[in-house]
């Protein structure tokens, strides 16, 4: 899967209250959440973000609350992927589970500025900055997590597994 988009650049420790403030957690549809995405970090983001844009951030992106509304708001905004130096663990799980592509690549983050055009090849595990022409290798996902990503998220992955188990059960074999 190949993506290309304009960069929105943020620093370290962007928390999920900043990504989607709790005052908007009385709704859960991605398009409703997207209207307030990044509001307390960058109040201009939700108005100006374009489908296919890329968020680039520092260490510990998505720290704080477990709210899945945070990756849902980002996905609902049309952001194609997030590239960060590192992720807080619940955000990492949530993004994979809902099918928001996230990449870990500290060097690319260091050498990328707001407004740069960034291309990502998720299959090859590379990120290219089209302004500088530099290409970076991203940390690969373990095979198990890759399986969830390829299934389109945890719900699709689990539904498929449960069906396979049911089929195997119907044939009298044990799991």
């Amino acid at each position: 899967m190949k993506l290309m988009g304009t960069v929105w650049k943020y620093g370290d420790d962007v928390d999920t209250d900043g990504i989607i403030p709790a005052r908007y957690l009385n709704v859960s549809e991605p398009e409703d959440l997207a209207r307030h995405c990044m509001e307390d970090v960058d109040s201009g983001f939700a108005r100006a973000v374009q489908a296919g844009d890329v968020i680039v951030a520092g260490e510990n992106f998505g720290c704080g609350s477990s709210r899945e509304h945070a990756p849902l708001a980002i996905k609902g905004s049309g952001v194609a992927c997030v590239v960060a130096k590192s992720y807080a663990r619940i955000f990492y799980r949530n993004a994979i589970n809902i099918g928001l592509p996230i990449l870990e690549c500290p060097q690319a983050v260091e050498e990328t500025q707001k407004g740069d055009l960034l291309a990502a090849d998720l299959g090859a595990g590379t990120v290219t900055n089209l302004r500088t022409g530099r290409t970076y290798q991203v940390s690969p996902f373990p095979p198990f997590i890759m399986g969830i990503i390829q299934a389109g998220g945890l719900v699709d992955y689990t539904r498929e597994r449960l069906r396979a188990q049911a089929r195997a059960g119907a044939q009298g074999s044990t799991m």
Partner: protein, 431 residues
């Protein structure tokens, strides 16, 4: 090589996994292994359950794996703060009724989830608990492996009784020495986060240990485990001892097994802390790692003081606050709000006379709710306002307007600050 507490509990729940080779139940596990494990309790609340229910319904499963093990608590925006919140609570209520969940806690029986579940005996030592709330790590105080996840993870756990996870490395933090007056679990954890940083334990577990922990109350341990996530941790764990067993007596809903870390367990890091040097702590905006001794914070004027939350909403916390407020008045420039963490805490506080003390001091006492902690309701801040709060996060905009500020502290400092009108040491009100 021995194993940490987290590794032992996960191994006891192992279904399968991979570490280059496939893992099977009864195998040992090591940090970095990706495993599938059974869960004992699955938790969600009025904010996270609606998404979990939506995803659950896509799975093609009719019933939750075990109705007794699926817990739902209406606490964040409950009692309903607006029509949309009412719809979310209703969705959760309808699901709980349709699934026959005995542990759905609604207004009147509910408390703040992480105060409520231990109090009701729903979590016991050795459990694996997953919750769609980041402060699920609170139950590590009981020697359970408890961790926050998102709504989709919880949907799958509700359906299958299983989760996938990475076995974490563990940081062991050893606390020695005697606590100074007015220093409690909140001060220890704020100090610790100040030392290791908000991502210092990212993806890792923390084992809290040492003589000062052995002497710490259950309330203090819950407070510390609760804030393990503020250092990025997956779980914060305590060994089970006599204090834990006394708490569980007459309360535990199931028989339990207490696991112990091996003496030769491998730790990613060992941190030693001499608690006798620690003053009450205050974490400055806008990160919990900005912890400073209270003596360096006493110039900060405040508009609001919040005493409560899943961090500090237990009876012991209210006793400390009442001890400071008894016979005194909240400063006229300050709104002080006390929120008991559960109906039982509220009732106990009422019977002990604490509620009377609060009201006589000019405090507003609320029914249990997460409310102001996340800027939901019952104490939202205006632009430029400052609060001292016994809650767990002081991110920008956490309690209201993005230009408001939250200073995190324990109940003694919060109560003293409410009286003085600026952040204050308890000694400043004559204690």
């Amino acid at each position: 090589m021995g194993h940490t507490l987290a590794e032992k509990i996960i191994a006891a729940h192992l279904v399968g996994g991979e570490k280059g080779v496939a893992l099977h139940s009864n195998d040992e596990v090591s940090p970095g292994d990706l495993v599938e494990a059974t869960v004992d309790v699955v938790l969600s609340n009025d904010i996270t359950a609606p998404i979990a229910i939506r995803e659950f319904e896509k799975l093609g499963v009719e019933r939750v794996f075990d109705p007794d093990r699926v817990v739902m608590v209406a606490d964040h925006f409950a009692p309903n703060k607006d029509i949309q919140s009412a719809e979310q609570c209703r969705l959760m209520r309808q699901f709980a009724r349709a699934q026959g969940l005995p542990n759905h806690f609604d207004v009147g029986s509910m408390g703040i989830e992480h105060v409520l579940l231990p109090e009701q005996g729903l979590v016991v030592p050795g459990d694996v608990v997953v919750g769609a709330d980041s402060h699920t790590c609170t139950y590590g105080a009981l020697g359970a492996f408890a961790t926050g996840m998102g709504s989709t993870d919880v949907a799958v756990a509700m359906a299958t009784g299983r989760v996938w996870m990475r076995v974490p490395e563990t940081i062991r933090v050893v606390y020695r020495g005697r606590l100074q007056p007015w220093v409690g679990g909140k001060d220890l954890i704020l100090y610790t986060i100040g030392q290791i940083g908000v991502s210092g334990a990212r993806y890792k577990g923390i084992e809290f240990a040492g003589p000062a922990i052995d002497r710490l109350s259950m309330a203090g341990r819950f407070t510390m485990a609760n804030m393990a996530i503020e250092a990025g941790a997956k779980a914060g764990l305590f060994a089970v001892d006599e204090t834990t067993r006394a708490y569980l007596d007459g309360r535990a809903s199931r028989p339990y097994q207490a696991y112990e870390a091996d003496s030769d367990a491998a730790y990613a890091q060992v941190v030693e802390i001499d608690v006798s040097q620690i003053e009450p702590q205050v974490a400055f905006p806008h990160l919990p790692e900005n912890a400073r001794p209270v003596s360096q914070a006493t110039g900060v004027r405040i508009d609001q003081a919040i005493i409560g939350s899943c961090t500090n909403g237990r009876l012991e916390d209210l006793r400390v606050a009442a001890g400071v407020l008894r016979g005194r008045r909240v400063c006229t420039d300050v709104r002080c709000i006390v929120i008991p963490g559960s109906q039982q805490v509220y009732l106990d506080a009422l019977r002990e006379g604490l509620v009377e003390t609060f009201i006589e001091a000019g405090v507003a006492v609320s029914t249990p709710t997460c409310g102001p902690c996340l800027g939901g309701h019952m104490g939202v801040l205006a632009a430029g306002e400052r609060a001292v709060s016994t809650t767990n996060r002081n991110f920008r905009g956490r309690m209201g307007h993005p230009e408001s500020e939250v200073y995190l502290a324990g109940p003694a400092v919060a109560a003293a600050s409410a009286v003085v009108g600026r952040i204050a040491r308890p000694e400043e009100v004559g204690l």
